[in-house]
């Protein structure tokens, strides 16, 4: 076969893949979010007859979108920071200290990923009830998110700590640096990309986490995913759901772009997360 033919076939396959895989679903969502209520979008029309940003404005004014956005965007960064703070000491121990049982400790960190999310959510809420703490839903969800998302942070930070070079630390010590200065000079440069990556990943996961927010938060505490879930439920209004779906996906795309940048500038072994 000629190279040109192969390239052509590849181009077409690429376009088809793109279309089926991403473009069609997202275009449909965008179009639906623009449907103006004055005239419905019926099956016989290729495009919505009247398009406007009415739905966006409507959702903003009349649904729990604002509290949901507020909750999600307070919760996620808090969870990211709390998780990082909780994970770092463990990551330091796993990354820089040789002790018996290290492998076991590493396995235990994976537990939250193995226990199904809804089991965790339901019995965590049961514990909260038993302890009488169910009133402070935000705190409970924040705590639960921090624990279940910790495996990612520990994993990333452990790799980062492993990459801190002993000779840098020794050199700093040799030159008489104090403990704080030693951290600044030898640890921080190596840890920075890991810290950013851990924060971003926990942030994204927390934004889209559904099980715990749904079980522990309902009915009074809404986040964007629980709002979307209820919109997809009984009184399903397609254009409204489209607006919410698009809102939920925006931070992911932005964050991922940042993350990609970060990982490219950092050590490649971080991005592959092997092991």
């Amino acid at each position: 076969m000629k190279q040109a033919t192969i390239n052509k076939i590849l181009m077409y396959s690429l376009i088809t893949v793109c279309a089926v895989w991403l473009i069609i679903p997202f275009t449909m969502a965008v179009l639906w979010s623009l449907v103006d209520p004055v005239e419905p979008w019926t099956a016989d029309k290729l495009l919505p007859p009247v398009m406007s940003t009415y739905r966006w404005a409507y959702m903003w004014e009349n649904s729990s979108l604002r509290p949901a956005l507020f909750n999600s965007y307070v919760l996620a960064p808090s969870a990211a920071i709390v998780t990082l703070l909780l994970a770092s000491p463990t990551a330091y121990a796993l990354g820089r200290i040789q002790f018996p049982g290290r492998e076991v400790a590493k396995l235990i960190t994976l537990l939250p990923l193995v226990v199904p999310g809804f089991v965790t959510a339901i019995f965590f809420s049961s514990i909260i009830f038993q302890l009488g703490l169910h009133a402070w839903r935000f705190g409970a969800i924040l705590f639960a998110h921090s624990v279940i998302l910790m495996p990612y942070a520990i994993r990333i930070m452990t790799v980062s700590f492993e990459q801190v070079r002993q000779d840098h630390i020794d050199a700093a010590r040799d030159l008489g640096a104090t403990t704080i200065e030693r951290w600044k000079v030898a640890y921080m440069p190596a840890l920075k990309p890991g810290i950013m990556a851990a924060l971003l990943i926990v942030f994204i996961q927390s934004i889209e986490e559904f099980a715990i927010a749904f079980i522990v938060g309902s009915p009074s505490f809404v986040t964007v995913p629980t709002l979307l879930f209820s919109t997809l439920g009984q009184d399903f209004v397609r254009p409204n759901a489209a607006v919410l779906a698009l809102i939920l996906i925006v931070p992911n795309v932005i964050m991922m772009l940042i993350l990609e940048r970060l990982l490219k500038s950092a050590n490649p072994s971080l991005s592959s997360g092997k092991g």
Partner: protein, 285 residues
């Protein structure tokens, strides 16, 4: 190690691994204990097998176990089966391969609920898929695709969401096989299938097991896809559990929860084991 060093290590581990162990441990303990009648939120708390007994007598319970396993198994299987050829195809960079890889992996960024919405949007009664099938003359009238009886919709959705993850793991593994090793196999007369069976598959087995197990656990415990796009006459285990919890029947919910954990655990072990047997021809080293 000195006692002092031990104390340091334990202090460092406490907020991370320690917290995880305590919290997840308590969750598991609570699930098991409640399934056995303890920690009742309303009535008496006492040990009994009553809830297990009753649950094991319900037909809906078995249906739900079977359905969840079905979804979990086929989601994992389809995702990996689709990801393998793609990973091999994308092993060597070519014009546009980066873009194809990025497009294929994009669903990783799409939250599950959004994915579910996008999907039901495409397959809805007046959705673009139905329109298209009618337009090419394949179907005479629109088909009702949402909430189909066999859960095919969920399988498509799970595959869409999870294939990229499998692809990510497998691409890494496949790319770490050196060109020379594959060329050597080819030079010795191994065709495409033989190269896959004898070289690529055995060398990527651990990534494949990881992908299968992780996708299986996620799909077996699925709630939102099932509620939104799944058959209305079936319930997944998670859905079943939430149903009991919502009606305040914590002990029943606990029985289902423990079942779900057991299914996830045993299923994963079986999957990993079966993969090994199939790919290595039963030789365990």
């Amino acid at each position: 190690m000195t006692a002092k060093k031990w104390i340091t290590v334990l202090a460092l581990l406490a907020p991370g691994v320690g917290l995880i162990a305590v919290m997840i441990g308590t969750v598991i303990y609570m699930a098991v204990a409640q399934s056995l009648g303890y920690y009742s939120l309303m009535g008496e708390s006492e040990f009994s097998f009553e809830f297990w007994d009753k649950m094991l007598g319900r037909k809906a319970y078995y249906k739900s176990v079977r359905f969840s396993i079905y979804i979990g198994f086929f989601s994992a299987l389809f995702s990996v089966a689709l990801a393998y050829p793609l990973a091999i195809w994308l092993r060597k960079p070519f014009n546009g391969s980066l873009l194809i890889g990025a497009v294929l992996k994009a669903p990783l960024l799409v939250p599950g609920l959004v994915a579910a919405f996008l999907f039901i949007n495409v397959i809805s009664y007046n959705g673009i898929l139905n329109q298209f099938m009618q337009w090419i003359g394949f179907w005479d009238a629109p088909h009702r695709l949402q909430n189909d009886r066999n859960g095919y919709g969920i399988l498509v959705l799970q595959t869409w969401k999870n294939m990229p993850f499998a692809l990510l793991l497998l691409t890494g593994a496949v790319q770490s096989i050196s060109d020379d090793v594959l060329d050597a196999a080819r030079d010795l007369g191994a065709g495409t299938m033989a190269r896959f069976r004898k070289i690529i598959a055995p060398l990527t087995i651990s990534s494949m097991q990881a992908a299968l197990v992780i996708i299986f656990i996620g799909a077996v415990a699925d709630f939102s896809f099932q509620v939104i796009a799944g058959p209305t006459n079936r319930q997944s285990l998670a859905q079943f559990m939430v149903f009991f919890k919502d009606s305040g029947r914590w002990h029943d919910a606990a029985v289902v929860g423990v079942t779900l954990m057991a299914v996830a655990l045993i299923g994963s072990a079986l999957l990993a084991f079966a993969t090994r047997i199939i790919l290595k021809g039963g030789r365990i080293k």
